[in-house]
């Protein structure tokens, strides 16, 4: 049992991290927020060239030929940086929709809750988008439509969404810790106060537990493992962003600071691939199924 990242997996993760740091840094994120609803097509193609969408497509079909664990690591990095766009939908369409694998096409999916992300920017929509009504999306970086007919959800979409949540939770914890170290009140860094320290510790505990669940689900691709990953990662991302906001105090409540973007995106992701209730019900039913 080597339930740790391999050298190749570390290299892949670092490569994606570098690409995103170079191409989607803090200023680009701010600019994207100021111009909501527009997808950066050049960046999309760059992701395509880097193999982000074709990661799991077999080499014989022009893909990178890697597996779910590698895809999870790449989507975790996307979640860290709040990379916008229908990443999961386009990734799942690679090999099925022309241009998806290379980033030439932007693919949107009708989700299990009847929501569609990035409908107007999409070149191809999978599912029935007739009668779509635009929403004023809570997340400035995820335009949303509502459609009357929902679509069944691919478990891989659930897992990759959980990976994004994991990345977001990791980032929220880092931001909170950075702030708690730097910000001084009452003559000392606020991170020295247990009330703040314990918020940060709980963020890490939720993140690391979610990480084990998400990585294990990537290895086994088992349905119960994927439900587990979703529940743990949703919790880590939503509560992590919430606690990060709290650690930042008044600053965290402003538009300038990126923590609200993490919280809002985390909320969007909790509704992308069905509902937590379904996962809880499946995991409850699983308890009656067989001995451990």
């Amino acid at each position: 049992m080597r339930f740790q990242l391999t050298e190749d997996q570390r290299a892949l993760r670092d490569g994606v991290r570098e690409l995103l740091a170079r191409r989607f840094g803090r200023e680009v994120l701010r600019a994207a927020v100021d111009e909501p609803g527009r997808l950066d097509r050049a960046l999309w193609r760059e992701l395509g060239v880097a193999g982000f969408f074709a990661l799991r497509l077999p080499e014989a079909r022009g893909g990178v030929g890697l597996g779910l664990p590698e895809a999870v690591l790449a989507f975790e990095e996307a979640g860290r940086t709040l990379l916008p766009g229908p990443l999961v939908a386009t990734h799942l369409a690679a090999g099925e929709v022309s241009g998806a694998a290379t980033g030439e096409a932007v693919v949107a999916d009708v989700g299990a809750c009847g929501l569609v992300e990035w409908l107007t920017e999409a070149d191809v929509v999978r599912g029935d988008a007739a009668g779509a009504v635009p929403l004023r999306s809570v997340d400035p970086l995820t335009p949303l439509h509502r459609v009357p007919v929902a679509r069944g959800v691919d478990p891989v979409a659930v897992l990759l969404t959980a990976a994004e949540q994991l990345g977001s939770a990791t980032r929220a914890c880092e931001l909170a810790v950075q702030h708690a170290r730097a910000r001084e009140q009452f003559g000392q860094p606020i991170g020295g106060f247990q009330a703040v320290k314990h918020l940060c510790a709980d963020m890490l505990v939720r993140t690391e537990t979610a990480r084990a669940a998400v990585y294990a689900a990537a290895v086994t691709a088992d349905a119960a493992d994927i439900d587990t990953a979703r529940l743990l990662a949703d919790e880590a991302a939503v509560r992590g962003a919430r606690d990060c906001l709290q650690v930042h105090g008044g600053m965290g409540f402003t538009w300038e600071f990126e923590v609200h973007l993490h919280l809002k995106r985390a909320w969007v992701r909790t509704h992308r691939a069905g509902d937590a209730t379904e996962s809880e019900e499946s995991l409850a039913a699983e308890l009656l199924a067989q001995p451990i």
Partner: protein, 377 residues
Amino acid sequence: MDLAYTPEEEEFRARLREWLAKALPTLPPKPSPDDWPGRRAYDLGWQRRLYDAGYADVHWDASPTVRLIFLEETEKAGAPYVGAGFVGLLHAGPTIAAEGTAEQRARWLPPILRGEEVWCQGFSEPDAGSDLAALRTRARRDGDDYVVSGSKIWTSHAEVADWCELLVRTDPQAPKHRGISWLAMPMGAPGITVRPLRTLAGSAEFAEVFLDEVRVPVANRVGDENDGWRVTMVTLSFERGTAFVGEVVACRRVLRELAGEARKNGRWDDPVLRRRLGRLNAEFRALWRLTQWNVSEAERTGGVPGVGGSVFKLRYSHARQELYGAAADVLGPQSLDLDQPWVLDRLSSLSYTIAAGTSQIQRNIVAERILGLPKGR
């Protein structure tokens, strides 16, 4: 990243399974929880069986993964818990193995492995709980002996122990972490009084130990004089990766039993309760994966456990309390009957966020040592 075991590990698992299937039906009946001599005999008897079958030193010599498999399979088979052997096998033994002299290893290790001697832990004191290094039990040098006076508390198995891994202050003038020494104290020595303490679960799980001019040979000191804090950190770092393996497996079994019970008594129709059990399933599945992750990490770093144990302990101790909280809701008013299953477990689970470092102390450890936040109060 993989979750597959090597052929050697799978072979170990199969061999162990086969042996357990033969050994367990021949076990004597389990003694009652308050029968300490009976529990001692039962637990040591099981250790002797493990010794004869070649599994005794799995906690010390095997790789973290093999230890994981051992704990997983013994729990799944319903084998006895390490019980009275806990301190000897998981704390004192590994500490003596790592820090003791050749004579000390030869004197103390074989009886632990053979299930002949029981150890208890004399670390905590009434005025030094979470602040372990504030301990005040004094040891004065007199010829070839230390003369020890003071008191210890929360000492499990004290009534039936042969030895105590004892922390004493050998230099009262030194800074508090520097004047401590680690001694092996024979529990039969004159001047030792053991007073059992009754827990909120009703049984005497641990005791207070009073020490009045107890003579302990200097030769029983493990590590250098006044270097006991470092030795203690070695003790406390053992088995962090695998400490809770058996318990996580047990919790997963309890969860299935709870679902079965809920289906029998009609509570399963309550979607709120059902979803809660589903979430607990996710919780303990994730804790199992985190265990595998920590064990792989220990394997990668050569078996040295990190502070990651605190992350696990924090999450696990709260999850365990939630599990037995859900059990009470499955049982309904029957949860007030001490003879019903899970009711005593619910009571004892309350200790999990206190014992071995409270959740508050664990959060400080995570925040300061992993996240690098400043020390403070």
